[in-house]
Symmetry: C2
Subunit: 312 residues, 2 copies
Protein backbone atom coordinates (compact mmCIF):
# COMPACT_ATOMS: atom_id res chain seq x y z
CA UNK A 1 0.00 0.00 0.00
CA UNK A 2 1.14 3.51 -0.83
CA UNK A 3 -0.19 6.79 0.53
CA UNK A 4 -0.55 9.41 -2.20
CA UNK A 5 -1.33 12.99 -1.21
CA UNK A 6 -2.44 15.78 -3.52
CA UNK A 7 -1.24 18.92 -1.74
CA UNK A 8 -3.13 21.90 -3.11
CA UNK A 9 -3.40 25.49 -1.97
CA UNK A 10 -6.56 24.97 0.08
CA UNK A 11 -6.68 21.27 0.91
CA UNK A 12 -4.58 18.13 1.05
CA UNK A 13 -6.29 14.98 -0.20
CA UNK A 14 -4.69 11.70 0.89
CA UNK A 15 -5.48 8.29 -0.59
CA UNK A 16 -4.44 4.82 0.44
CA UNK A 17 -3.62 3.23 -2.92
CA UNK A 18 -2.92 -0.33 -4.00
CA UNK A 19 0.17 0.25 -6.16
CA UNK A 20 -0.53 -2.77 -8.39
CA UNK A 21 -4.06 -1.85 -9.40
CA UNK A 22 -4.17 1.86 -8.45
CA UNK A 23 -7.35 0.99 -6.52
CA UNK A 24 -8.25 3.57 -3.88
CA UNK A 25 -8.67 1.67 -0.61
CA UNK A 26 -9.23 4.53 1.81
CA UNK A 27 -9.09 8.32 1.98
CA UNK A 28 -8.47 11.25 4.34
CA UNK A 29 -8.57 14.98 3.82
CA UNK A 30 -7.17 18.02 5.63
CA UNK A 31 -7.03 21.75 5.09
CA UNK A 32 -3.67 22.80 3.68
CA UNK A 33 -1.60 25.03 5.91
CA UNK A 34 0.95 27.37 4.45
CA UNK A 35 3.71 27.16 7.02
CA UNK A 36 6.27 24.43 6.22
CA UNK A 37 6.50 22.69 9.64
CA UNK A 38 2.73 22.89 10.17
CA UNK A 39 2.17 21.44 6.69
CA UNK A 40 4.46 18.51 7.48
CA UNK A 41 2.60 17.90 10.75
CA UNK A 42 -0.75 17.92 8.94
CA UNK A 43 0.53 15.52 6.26
CA UNK A 44 1.96 13.21 8.95
CA UNK A 45 -1.48 13.10 10.61
CA UNK A 46 -3.06 12.08 7.29
CA UNK A 47 -0.47 9.33 6.78
CA UNK A 48 -0.92 8.03 10.33
CA UNK A 49 -4.72 7.88 10.00
CA UNK A 50 -4.56 5.89 6.77
CA UNK A 51 -1.78 3.65 8.08
CA UNK A 52 -3.82 2.81 11.21
CA UNK A 53 -6.71 1.60 9.09
CA UNK A 54 -4.68 -0.05 6.32
CA UNK A 55 -5.17 -3.81 5.85
CA UNK A 56 -1.53 -4.12 4.75
CA UNK A 57 1.69 -2.29 5.64
CA UNK A 58 2.19 1.14 4.06
CA UNK A 59 5.41 1.06 2.04
CA UNK A 60 5.94 4.63 0.92
CA UNK A 61 4.42 8.09 0.58
CA UNK A 62 4.12 10.25 -2.55
CA UNK A 63 3.30 13.95 -2.51
CA UNK A 64 1.98 15.81 -5.52
CA UNK A 65 2.37 19.52 -4.89
CA UNK A 66 1.01 22.51 -6.78
CA UNK A 67 4.48 23.80 -7.54
CA UNK A 68 8.00 22.57 -7.83
CA UNK A 69 10.30 20.58 -5.57
CA UNK A 70 13.93 19.69 -6.08
CA UNK A 71 15.24 16.11 -6.15
CA UNK A 72 15.74 16.15 -2.39
CA UNK A 73 12.11 17.05 -1.68
CA UNK A 74 12.46 20.73 -0.82
CA UNK A 75 9.68 22.93 -2.22
CA UNK A 76 11.40 25.51 -4.44
CA UNK A 77 8.46 27.29 -6.05
CA UNK A 78 4.77 27.29 -5.24
CA UNK A 79 2.45 30.28 -5.63
CA UNK A 80 -0.27 28.31 -3.84
CA UNK A 81 1.90 27.23 -0.89
CA UNK A 82 4.17 30.23 -0.36
CA UNK A 83 4.92 29.35 3.27
CA UNK A 84 6.31 25.95 2.27
CA UNK A 85 8.88 27.34 -0.19
CA UNK A 86 12.41 26.60 0.97
CA UNK A 87 11.17 23.99 3.43
CA UNK A 88 12.45 20.39 3.09
CA UNK A 89 8.91 18.98 3.16
CA UNK A 90 9.99 15.58 1.77
CA UNK A 91 12.86 14.85 4.19
CA UNK A 92 10.94 16.26 7.16
CA UNK A 93 7.90 14.08 6.49
CA UNK A 94 10.20 11.10 5.91
CA UNK A 95 11.70 11.58 9.34
CA UNK A 96 8.32 12.12 11.00
CA UNK A 97 6.54 9.07 9.56
CA UNK A 98 9.53 6.75 9.05
CA UNK A 99 8.68 6.03 5.40
CA UNK A 100 10.30 6.96 2.10
CA UNK A 101 8.68 10.14 0.72
CA UNK A 102 8.76 11.19 -2.96
CA UNK A 103 7.77 14.73 -3.92
CA UNK A 104 6.64 15.72 -7.42
CA UNK A 105 4.50 18.22 -9.28
CA UNK A 106 0.75 17.56 -9.03
CA UNK A 107 0.13 17.89 -12.78
CA UNK A 108 2.91 15.40 -13.54
CA UNK A 109 1.40 13.05 -10.96
CA UNK A 110 -2.07 13.27 -12.52
CA UNK A 111 -0.59 12.66 -15.97
CA UNK A 112 1.19 9.55 -14.76
CA UNK A 113 -2.02 8.23 -13.16
CA UNK A 114 -4.12 8.76 -16.29
CA UNK A 115 -1.35 7.26 -18.44
CA UNK A 116 -0.98 4.10 -16.38
CA UNK A 117 -4.53 3.46 -15.17
CA UNK A 118 -6.86 5.95 -16.84
CA UNK A 119 -7.67 7.40 -20.25
CA UNK A 120 -4.03 7.40 -21.36
CA UNK A 121 -3.50 3.65 -21.33
CA UNK A 122 -1.78 2.12 -24.36
CA UNK A 123 -0.65 5.41 -25.86
CA UNK A 124 2.97 6.54 -26.17
CA UNK A 125 2.45 10.21 -27.06
CA UNK A 126 -0.27 12.08 -25.22
CA UNK A 127 -1.09 15.21 -23.28
CA UNK A 128 -3.32 15.52 -20.25
CA UNK A 129 -5.00 18.94 -20.27
CA UNK A 130 -6.82 19.84 -17.05
CA UNK A 131 -9.48 22.50 -17.45
CA UNK A 132 -10.34 24.17 -14.15
CA UNK A 133 -9.80 27.63 -12.69
CA UNK A 134 -6.65 27.59 -14.82
CA UNK A 135 -5.18 25.08 -17.27
CA UNK A 136 -2.67 22.47 -16.17
CA UNK A 137 -1.42 19.26 -17.63
CA UNK A 138 1.47 17.09 -18.58
CA UNK A 139 2.91 14.89 -21.30
CA UNK A 140 3.76 11.27 -21.94
CA UNK A 141 6.26 11.28 -24.81
CA UNK A 142 7.79 8.21 -26.38
CA UNK A 143 6.06 6.13 -23.72
CA UNK A 144 7.59 7.99 -20.77
CA UNK A 145 6.32 10.68 -18.41
CA UNK A 146 8.07 13.87 -19.51
CA UNK A 147 9.44 15.69 -16.47
CA UNK A 148 11.65 18.28 -18.13
CA UNK A 149 15.03 19.56 -17.06
CA UNK A 150 13.87 20.56 -13.57
CA UNK A 151 10.74 18.47 -13.08
CA UNK A 152 8.71 21.45 -14.19
CA UNK A 153 7.12 20.33 -17.44
CA UNK A 154 3.36 20.69 -17.52
CA UNK A 155 2.43 24.36 -17.49
CA UNK A 156 0.53 24.47 -20.80
CA UNK A 157 -1.80 27.18 -19.51
CA UNK A 158 1.05 29.70 -19.74
CA UNK A 159 1.61 29.06 -23.45
CA UNK A 160 0.94 32.33 -25.27
CA UNK A 161 -1.69 31.94 -27.98
CA UNK A 162 -2.47 35.62 -28.46
CA UNK A 163 0.57 37.83 -28.09
CA UNK A 164 -1.61 40.90 -28.67
CA UNK A 165 -4.07 39.84 -26.00
CA UNK A 166 -4.68 41.27 -22.53
CA UNK A 167 -2.17 40.92 -19.69
CA UNK A 168 -2.95 37.88 -17.55
CA UNK A 169 -2.31 37.22 -13.85
CA UNK A 170 1.06 35.79 -14.91
CA UNK A 171 2.09 39.24 -16.15
CA UNK A 172 2.23 38.01 -19.74
CA UNK A 173 -0.12 38.70 -22.62
CA UNK A 174 -2.60 36.24 -24.01
CA UNK A 175 -1.76 32.88 -22.41
CA UNK A 176 -3.96 29.92 -23.29
CA UNK A 177 -5.60 29.78 -19.88
CA UNK A 178 -6.88 33.33 -20.33
CA UNK A 179 -9.04 32.01 -23.19
CA UNK A 180 -9.72 28.39 -22.38
CA UNK A 181 -9.85 27.85 -18.61
CA UNK A 182 -13.08 27.43 -16.67
CA UNK A 183 -12.72 31.08 -15.66
CA UNK A 184 -12.63 31.99 -19.35
CA UNK A 185 -15.85 30.07 -19.96
CA UNK A 186 -17.47 32.24 -17.31
CA UNK A 187 -16.12 35.41 -18.93
CA UNK A 188 -17.47 34.36 -22.33
CA UNK A 189 -20.83 33.62 -20.72
CA UNK A 190 -20.87 36.96 -18.96
CA UNK A 191 -19.96 38.80 -22.17
CA UNK A 192 -22.74 37.01 -24.05
CA UNK A 193 -25.19 37.85 -21.25
CA UNK A 194 -24.22 41.52 -21.44
CA UNK A 195 -25.08 41.67 -25.15
CA UNK A 196 -28.38 39.82 -24.71
CA UNK A 197 -26.99 36.59 -26.18
CA UNK A 198 -27.37 34.51 -23.01
CA UNK A 199 -30.73 35.27 -21.35
CA UNK A 200 -30.85 32.04 -19.38
CA UNK A 201 -27.48 32.94 -17.84
CA UNK A 202 -28.87 36.24 -16.58
CA UNK A 203 -31.87 34.39 -15.13
CA UNK A 204 -29.63 31.88 -13.35
CA UNK A 205 -27.02 34.37 -12.11
CA UNK A 206 -29.24 37.35 -11.37
CA UNK A 207 -27.13 39.67 -13.53
CA UNK A 208 -24.88 39.48 -16.61
CA UNK A 209 -21.81 40.16 -14.46
CA UNK A 210 -22.65 37.29 -12.14
CA UNK A 211 -22.54 34.66 -14.91
CA UNK A 212 -19.87 32.00 -14.36
CA UNK A 213 -18.80 28.85 -16.16
CA UNK A 214 -21.14 26.88 -13.91
CA UNK A 215 -24.14 28.81 -15.24
CA UNK A 216 -23.08 28.13 -18.83
CA UNK A 217 -22.73 24.42 -18.08
CA UNK A 218 -26.04 24.28 -16.20
CA UNK A 219 -27.96 26.08 -18.96
CA UNK A 220 -26.36 23.90 -21.60
CA UNK A 221 -27.41 20.76 -19.71
CA UNK A 222 -30.98 22.16 -19.82
CA UNK A 223 -30.73 22.40 -23.60
CA UNK A 224 -30.37 26.18 -23.87
CA UNK A 225 -29.07 26.95 -27.40
CA UNK A 226 -27.45 30.25 -26.34
CA UNK A 227 -25.44 28.43 -23.68
CA UNK A 228 -24.43 25.87 -26.29
CA UNK A 229 -23.17 28.66 -28.54
CA UNK A 230 -21.03 30.10 -25.74
CA UNK A 231 -19.72 26.64 -24.92
CA UNK A 232 -18.84 25.99 -28.58
CA UNK A 233 -16.90 29.23 -28.73
CA UNK A 234 -14.97 28.18 -25.61
CA UNK A 235 -14.29 24.69 -27.01
CA UNK A 236 -12.62 26.36 -29.99
CA UNK A 237 -10.29 28.20 -27.61
CA UNK A 238 -9.47 24.90 -25.89
CA UNK A 239 -8.83 23.27 -29.26
CA UNK A 240 -6.56 26.12 -30.36
CA UNK A 241 -4.06 25.33 -27.62
CA UNK A 242 -4.46 21.59 -28.11
CA UNK A 243 -3.63 22.08 -31.81
CA UNK A 244 -0.36 23.74 -30.79
CA UNK A 245 0.54 20.76 -28.61
CA UNK A 246 -0.28 18.35 -31.42
CA UNK A 247 1.75 20.28 -34.00
CA UNK A 248 4.77 20.60 -31.74
CA UNK A 249 4.85 17.07 -30.38
CA UNK A 250 2.91 14.90 -32.87
CA UNK A 251 0.59 13.57 -30.16
CA UNK A 252 -1.85 10.78 -30.95
CA UNK A 253 -4.17 11.39 -27.99
CA UNK A 254 -5.31 14.28 -25.80
CA UNK A 255 -6.96 13.55 -22.46
CA UNK A 256 -9.26 16.29 -21.13
CA UNK A 257 -9.45 16.44 -17.33
CA UNK A 258 -10.07 18.92 -14.54
CA UNK A 259 -13.41 20.12 -13.23
CA UNK A 260 -14.75 20.93 -16.70
CA UNK A 261 -14.39 17.27 -17.72
CA UNK A 262 -17.58 16.71 -15.69
CA UNK A 263 -19.42 18.20 -18.68
CA UNK A 264 -18.62 14.95 -20.44
CA UNK A 265 -19.37 14.19 -24.08
CA UNK A 266 -20.32 17.75 -25.15
CA UNK A 267 -16.83 18.86 -24.07
CA UNK A 268 -15.11 15.96 -25.82
CA UNK A 269 -17.14 16.41 -28.99
CA UNK A 270 -16.78 20.19 -29.02
CA UNK A 271 -12.99 20.10 -28.68
CA UNK A 272 -12.54 17.22 -31.12
CA UNK A 273 -14.66 18.96 -33.75
CA UNK A 274 -12.87 22.30 -33.44
CA UNK A 275 -9.48 20.59 -33.38
CA UNK A 276 -9.99 19.02 -36.79
CA UNK A 277 -10.10 22.51 -38.31
CA UNK A 278 -7.15 23.88 -36.37
CA UNK A 279 -4.35 21.34 -36.90
CA UNK A 280 -2.28 22.29 -39.97
CA UNK A 281 -2.11 19.44 -42.47
CA UNK A 282 -4.96 17.66 -40.68
CA UNK A 283 -5.91 15.97 -43.96
CA UNK A 284 -2.49 14.32 -44.13
CA UNK A 285 -2.21 13.01 -40.60
CA UNK A 286 -4.14 10.41 -38.67
CA UNK A 287 -6.77 12.18 -36.52
CA UNK A 288 -5.90 12.87 -32.89
CA UNK A 289 -8.01 11.02 -30.34
CA UNK A 290 -9.73 13.38 -27.91
CA UNK A 291 -10.92 11.55 -24.78
CA UNK A 292 -12.15 12.41 -21.28
CA UNK A 293 -10.01 11.71 -18.21
CA UNK A 294 -11.17 8.68 -16.23
CA UNK A 295 -9.78 9.14 -12.74
CA UNK A 296 -11.54 12.38 -11.82
CA UNK A 297 -10.29 14.49 -8.92
CA UNK A 298 -8.38 11.50 -7.47
CA UNK A 299 -5.88 11.52 -10.36
CA UNK A 300 -3.39 13.77 -8.56
CA UNK A 301 -3.25 11.73 -5.37
CA UNK A 302 -3.22 8.38 -7.22
CA UNK A 303 -0.40 9.71 -9.38
CA UNK A 304 1.49 10.92 -6.31
CA UNK A 305 1.31 7.37 -4.96
CA UNK A 306 2.56 6.03 -8.30
CA UNK A 307 5.46 8.51 -8.33
CA UNK A 308 6.63 6.91 -5.09
CA UNK A 309 7.05 3.51 -6.76
CA UNK A 310 7.19 4.17 -10.54
CA UNK A 311 9.49 6.79 -12.00
CA UNK A 312 7.15 7.01 -15.00
CA UNK B 1 31.01 5.08 -43.72
CA UNK B 2 27.41 6.22 -44.07
CA UNK B 3 25.89 8.33 -46.82
CA UNK B 4 23.49 10.94 -45.43
CA UNK B 5 21.33 12.90 -47.88
CA UNK B 6 19.31 16.02 -47.07
CA UNK B 7 16.51 15.92 -49.65
CA UNK B 8 14.99 19.39 -49.93
CA UNK B 9 12.57 20.90 -52.38
CA UNK B 10 15.25 22.37 -54.67
CA UNK B 11 18.39 20.33 -54.02
CA UNK B 12 19.67 17.10 -52.52
CA UNK B 13 22.89 17.40 -50.53
CA UNK B 14 24.75 14.12 -49.94
CA UNK B 15 27.58 13.65 -47.46
CA UNK B 16 29.92 10.74 -46.85
CA UNK B 17 29.98 10.62 -43.05
CA UNK B 18 32.15 8.73 -40.56
CA UNK B 19 29.45 7.43 -38.22
CA UNK B 20 31.77 7.34 -35.19
CA UNK B 21 32.91 10.96 -35.34
CA UNK B 22 30.27 12.49 -37.64
CA UNK B 23 33.20 13.85 -39.68
CA UNK B 24 32.23 14.79 -43.23
CA UNK B 25 34.63 12.94 -45.53
CA UNK B 26 33.21 13.86 -48.94
CA UNK B 27 30.18 15.53 -50.50
CA UNK B 28 28.00 15.57 -53.63
CA UNK B 29 25.02 17.66 -54.62
CA UNK B 30 22.19 17.34 -57.12
CA UNK B 31 19.05 19.27 -58.04
CA UNK B 32 15.99 17.68 -56.50
CA UNK B 33 13.48 16.29 -58.93
CA UNK B 34 9.84 15.97 -58.02
CA UNK B 35 8.92 12.71 -59.71
CA UNK B 36 9.42 9.68 -57.43
CA UNK B 37 11.35 7.35 -59.78
CA UNK B 38 13.52 10.21 -61.09
CA UNK B 39 14.25 11.27 -57.50
CA UNK B 40 15.38 7.75 -56.63
CA UNK B 41 17.62 7.67 -59.72
CA UNK B 42 19.21 11.01 -58.77
CA UNK B 43 19.77 9.83 -55.19
CA UNK B 44 21.32 6.58 -56.43
CA UNK B 45 23.74 8.59 -58.59
CA UNK B 46 24.78 10.60 -55.52
CA UNK B 47 25.33 7.43 -53.48
CA UNK B 48 27.34 5.80 -56.28
CA UNK B 49 29.61 8.84 -56.70
CA UNK B 50 30.43 8.95 -52.97
CA UNK B 51 30.80 5.21 -52.76
CA UNK B 52 33.27 5.21 -55.68
CA UNK B 53 35.52 7.67 -53.89
CA UNK B 54 35.08 6.34 -50.34
CA UNK B 55 38.20 5.07 -48.58
CA UNK B 56 36.10 2.48 -46.74
CA UNK B 57 32.96 0.50 -47.61
CA UNK B 58 29.66 2.37 -47.38
CA UNK B 59 27.43 0.57 -44.88
CA UNK B 60 24.09 2.33 -45.12
CA UNK B 61 22.19 5.33 -46.45
CA UNK B 62 20.04 7.80 -44.51
CA UNK B 63 17.60 10.24 -46.14
CA UNK B 64 16.30 13.32 -44.38
CA UNK B 65 13.30 14.58 -46.31
CA UNK B 66 11.35 17.81 -46.02
CA UNK B 67 8.15 16.02 -45.15
CA UNK B 68 7.00 12.76 -43.71
CA UNK B 69 7.69 9.13 -44.50
CA UNK B 70 6.17 6.02 -42.98
CA UNK B 71 8.17 3.28 -41.29
CA UNK B 72 8.65 1.47 -44.59
CA UNK B 73 10.19 4.50 -46.30
CA UNK B 74 7.27 5.68 -48.41
CA UNK B 75 6.87 9.47 -48.57
CA UNK B 76 3.39 10.20 -47.19
CA UNK B 77 3.38 14.02 -47.01
CA UNK B 78 5.71 16.61 -48.47
CA UNK B 79 4.62 20.03 -49.75
CA UNK B 80 8.14 20.52 -51.15
CA UNK B 81 8.31 17.17 -52.96
CA UNK B 82 4.72 16.64 -54.13
CA UNK B 83 5.74 14.23 -56.91
CA UNK B 84 7.39 11.88 -54.43
CA UNK B 85 4.29 11.47 -52.23
CA UNK B 86 3.06 7.90 -52.29
CA UNK B 87 6.32 6.66 -53.75
CA UNK B 88 8.34 4.04 -51.82
CA UNK B 89 11.54 6.11 -52.04
CA UNK B 90 13.29 4.13 -49.29
CA UNK B 91 12.68 0.59 -50.61
CA UNK B 92 13.31 1.69 -54.21
CA UNK B 93 16.65 3.25 -53.37
CA UNK B 94 17.54 0.23 -51.25
CA UNK B 95 16.96 -2.03 -54.24
CA UNK B 96 18.86 0.26 -56.61
CA UNK B 97 22.00 0.72 -54.50
CA UNK B 98 21.99 -2.56 -52.56
CA UNK B 99 22.30 -0.86 -49.16
CA UNK B 100 19.95 -0.43 -46.21
CA UNK B 101 18.12 2.92 -46.51
CA UNK B 102 16.49 4.76 -43.57
CA UNK B 103 14.09 7.63 -44.26
CA UNK B 104 13.27 10.33 -41.71
CA UNK B 105 12.17 13.94 -41.42
CA UNK B 106 14.94 16.48 -42.15
CA UNK B 107 14.28 18.56 -39.03
CA UNK B 108 14.44 15.47 -36.82
CA UNK B 109 17.69 14.52 -38.54
CA UNK B 110 19.25 17.94 -37.92
CA UNK B 111 18.14 17.81 -34.28
CA UNK B 112 19.80 14.43 -33.83
CA UNK B 113 23.04 15.71 -35.40
CA UNK B 114 23.23 18.81 -33.20
CA UNK B 115 22.33 16.73 -30.13
CA UNK B 116 25.00 14.12 -30.70
CA UNK B 117 27.84 16.13 -32.26
CA UNK B 118 26.91 19.81 -32.18
CA UNK B 119 25.54 22.46 -29.84
CA UNK B 120 23.19 20.03 -28.10
CA UNK B 121 25.82 17.77 -26.58
CA UNK B 122 25.41 16.84 -22.92
CA UNK B 123 21.86 18.12 -22.61
CA UNK B 124 18.78 15.96 -22.02
CA UNK B 125 16.03 18.49 -22.74
CA UNK B 126 16.52 20.82 -25.66
CA UNK B 127 14.95 22.25 -28.78
CA UNK B 128 16.62 22.99 -32.08
CA UNK B 129 14.92 25.97 -33.71
CA UNK B 130 15.92 26.61 -37.32
CA UNK B 131 15.31 30.15 -38.52
CA UNK B 132 15.19 30.39 -42.31
CA UNK B 133 12.44 31.07 -44.84
CA UNK B 134 10.20 29.40 -42.28
CA UNK B 135 10.81 27.96 -38.80
CA UNK B 136 11.62 24.30 -38.29
CA UNK B 137 13.10 22.31 -35.50
CA UNK B 138 12.93 19.34 -33.22
CA UNK B 139 13.26 18.20 -29.63
CA UNK B 140 15.47 16.01 -27.49
CA UNK B 141 13.42 15.15 -24.41
CA UNK B 142 14.62 13.07 -21.51
CA UNK B 143 17.80 12.39 -23.47
CA UNK B 144 16.05 10.95 -26.52
CA UNK B 145 15.16 12.35 -29.92
CA UNK B 146 11.40 12.95 -29.80
CA UNK B 147 9.78 11.60 -32.96
CA UNK B 148 6.12 11.77 -32.02
CA UNK B 149 3.35 9.34 -32.79
CA UNK B 150 3.93 9.40 -36.56
CA UNK B 151 7.54 10.65 -36.82
CA UNK B 152 6.14 14.11 -37.39
CA UNK B 153 7.29 16.06 -34.35
CA UNK B 154 9.20 19.22 -35.18
CA UNK B 155 6.87 21.72 -36.79
CA UNK B 156 7.21 24.53 -34.25
CA UNK B 157 6.72 27.18 -36.92
CA UNK B 158 3.03 26.26 -37.10
CA UNK B 159 2.46 26.93 -33.40
CA UNK B 160 -0.09 29.75 -33.16
CA UNK B 161 1.20 32.67 -31.09
CA UNK B 162 -1.33 35.26 -32.22
CA UNK B 163 -4.77 33.80 -32.79
CA UNK B 164 -6.01 37.23 -33.88
CA UNK B 165 -3.19 37.61 -36.39
CA UNK B 166 -3.28 37.46 -40.19
CA UNK B 167 -3.91 34.24 -42.10
CA UNK B 168 -0.61 32.55 -43.02
CA UNK B 169 0.27 30.31 -45.98
CA UNK B 170 -0.80 27.38 -43.79
CA UNK B 171 -4.36 28.72 -43.78
CA UNK B 172 -4.19 29.37 -40.05
CA UNK B 173 -3.94 32.68 -38.20
CA UNK B 174 -0.83 33.95 -36.50
CA UNK B 175 1.63 31.04 -36.48
CA UNK B 176 5.06 31.65 -34.99
CA UNK B 177 6.82 31.57 -38.35
CA UNK B 178 4.69 34.47 -39.57
CA UNK B 179 6.42 36.64 -36.93
CA UNK B 180 9.82 35.10 -36.39
CA UNK B 181 11.09 33.49 -39.62
CA UNK B 182 13.71 35.08 -41.84
CA UNK B 183 10.84 36.17 -44.08
CA UNK B 184 9.32 37.96 -41.08
CA UNK B 185 12.59 39.80 -40.45
CA UNK B 186 12.38 41.11 -44.01
CA UNK B 187 8.78 42.20 -43.49
CA UNK B 188 9.69 44.07 -40.29
CA UNK B 189 12.58 45.74 -42.14
CA UNK B 190 10.33 46.71 -45.03
CA UNK B 191 7.70 48.11 -42.65
CA UNK B 192 10.35 50.14 -40.84
CA UNK B 193 11.70 51.40 -44.16
CA UNK B 194 8.21 52.51 -45.22
CA UNK B 195 7.84 54.68 -42.11
CA UNK B 196 11.33 56.20 -42.45
CA UNK B 197 12.73 54.10 -39.60
CA UNK B 198 15.24 52.17 -41.74
CA UNK B 199 16.94 54.53 -44.20
CA UNK B 200 19.95 52.30 -44.74
CA UNK B 201 17.60 49.52 -45.80
CA UNK B 202 16.08 51.73 -48.50
CA UNK B 203 19.59 52.64 -49.71
CA UNK B 204 20.58 48.96 -49.88
CA UNK B 205 17.37 47.65 -51.42
CA UNK B 206 16.47 50.56 -53.71
CA UNK B 207 12.99 50.87 -52.22
CA UNK B 208 11.18 50.18 -48.91
CA UNK B 209 9.27 47.30 -50.50
CA UNK B 210 12.51 45.67 -51.65
CA UNK B 211 13.95 45.37 -48.13
CA UNK B 212 14.58 41.76 -47.05
CA UNK B 213 16.04 40.09 -44.00
CA UNK B 214 19.42 40.09 -45.75
CA UNK B 215 19.40 43.90 -45.88
CA UNK B 216 18.59 44.11 -42.18
CA UNK B 217 21.45 41.74 -41.36
CA UNK B 218 23.88 43.55 -43.67
CA UNK B 219 23.03 46.99 -42.26
CA UNK B 220 23.25 45.68 -38.72
CA UNK B 221 26.70 44.26 -39.43
CA UNK B 222 27.69 47.76 -40.59
CA UNK B 223 26.58 49.16 -37.22
CA UNK B 224 23.35 50.81 -38.37
CA UNK B 225 21.26 51.51 -35.22
CA UNK B 226 17.94 51.44 -37.12
CA UNK B 227 18.74 47.95 -38.40
CA UNK B 228 19.64 46.90 -34.86
CA UNK B 229 16.24 48.15 -33.65
CA UNK B 230 14.44 46.10 -36.31
CA UNK B 231 16.54 43.06 -35.45
CA UNK B 232 15.79 43.46 -31.72
CA UNK B 233 12.08 43.57 -32.44
CA UNK B 234 12.41 40.35 -34.45
CA UNK B 235 14.48 38.65 -31.72
CA UNK B 236 11.57 39.31 -29.33
CA UNK B 237 9.25 37.45 -31.73
CA UNK B 238 11.70 34.55 -31.85
CA UNK B 239 11.92 34.54 -28.06
CA UNK B 240 8.12 34.57 -27.70
CA UNK B 241 7.86 31.17 -29.36
CA UNK B 242 10.93 29.85 -27.56
CA UNK B 243 9.30 30.86 -24.25
CA UNK B 244 6.29 28.71 -25.14
CA UNK B 245 8.54 25.72 -25.79
CA UNK B 246 10.35 26.25 -22.48
CA UNK B 247 7.11 26.60 -20.50
CA UNK B 248 5.56 23.52 -22.05
CA UNK B 249 8.55 21.22 -21.90
CA UNK B 250 10.89 22.63 -19.22
CA UNK B 251 13.84 22.77 -21.61
CA UNK B 252 17.30 23.63 -20.31
CA UNK B 253 18.79 24.61 -23.69
CA UNK B 254 17.63 26.06 -26.99
CA UNK B 255 19.85 25.73 -30.06
CA UNK B 256 19.32 28.36 -32.77
CA UNK B 257 20.09 27.13 -36.29
CA UNK B 258 19.07 27.75 -39.89
CA UNK B 259 20.35 30.47 -42.20
CA UNK B 260 19.80 33.25 -39.66
CA UNK B 261 22.24 31.57 -37.25
CA UNK B 262 24.96 33.02 -39.50
CA UNK B 263 24.27 36.34 -37.76
CA UNK B 264 25.99 34.81 -34.76
CA UNK B 265 26.28 36.40 -31.36
CA UNK B 266 23.84 39.29 -31.94
CA UNK B 267 21.13 36.68 -32.63
CA UNK B 268 22.05 34.59 -29.60
CA UNK B 269 22.24 37.62 -27.33
CA UNK B 270 19.05 39.19 -28.67
CA UNK B 271 16.97 36.05 -28.19
CA UNK B 272 18.48 35.22 -24.79
CA UNK B 273 17.81 38.75 -23.53
CA UNK B 274 14.21 38.85 -24.73
CA UNK B 275 13.58 35.32 -23.44
CA UNK B 276 14.42 36.28 -19.87
CA UNK B 277 11.44 38.64 -19.87
CA UNK B 278 9.02 36.24 -21.54
CA UNK B 279 9.27 33.01 -19.52
CA UNK B 280 6.69 33.02 -16.70
CA UNK B 281 8.33 32.45 -13.33
CA UNK B 282 11.77 33.16 -14.83
CA UNK B 283 12.97 34.33 -11.41
CA UNK B 284 12.23 30.90 -9.93
CA UNK B 285 13.81 28.70 -12.55
CA UNK B 286 17.38 28.19 -13.69
CA UNK B 287 17.96 30.29 -16.83
CA UNK B 288 17.64 28.56 -20.18
CA UNK B 289 20.85 28.35 -22.20
CA UNK B 290 20.50 29.91 -25.65
CA UNK B 291 23.27 28.77 -28.01
CA UNK B 292 24.03 28.79 -31.73
CA UNK B 293 23.94 25.61 -33.80
CA UNK B 294 27.40 24.30 -34.64
CA UNK B 295 26.95 22.08 -37.68
CA UNK B 296 25.64 24.68 -40.12
CA UNK B 297 23.82 23.62 -43.28
CA UNK B 298 25.35 20.12 -43.05
CA UNK B 299 23.30 19.27 -39.95
CA UNK B 300 20.43 17.72 -41.94
CA UNK B 301 22.60 15.39 -44.02
CA UNK B 302 24.83 14.45 -41.06
CA UNK B 303 21.70 13.71 -39.06
CA UNK B 304 20.28 11.63 -41.91
CA UNK B 305 23.45 9.52 -41.79
CA UNK B 306 23.09 9.17 -38.01
CA UNK B 307 19.43 8.11 -38.37
CA UNK B 308 20.68 5.17 -40.44
CA UNK B 309 22.75 3.83 -37.55
CA UNK B 310 21.37 5.48 -34.36
CA UNK B 311 17.64 5.52 -33.61
CA UNK B 312 18.24 8.61 -31.44
Amino acid sequence: MIVGIDVGGTKASALLVDAESAAVVDRERASSVEDGPALVAALATLVAALWDRSPEPVEAVGLGIAGLADQAGTVTWSPNLPGAVGHPVGPDLEQTVGLSVTVGNDALAATLAEARFGAGRNCDDLALVTLGTGIGGGFVLGGRLHRGAHGFSGEPGHMVVNAAGPVHLSGHRGPWEHYASGSALGRLGSEAATTGAFDRGVALAGSPNGVTGFHVVEAMADGDPQAAAVFDQWCTEVARGVANLVVLLDLSRVVLGGGLADVGEPLRYGVATALAGLVPGADSRPPVEVVLAELGPDAGAIGAALLAVDPG
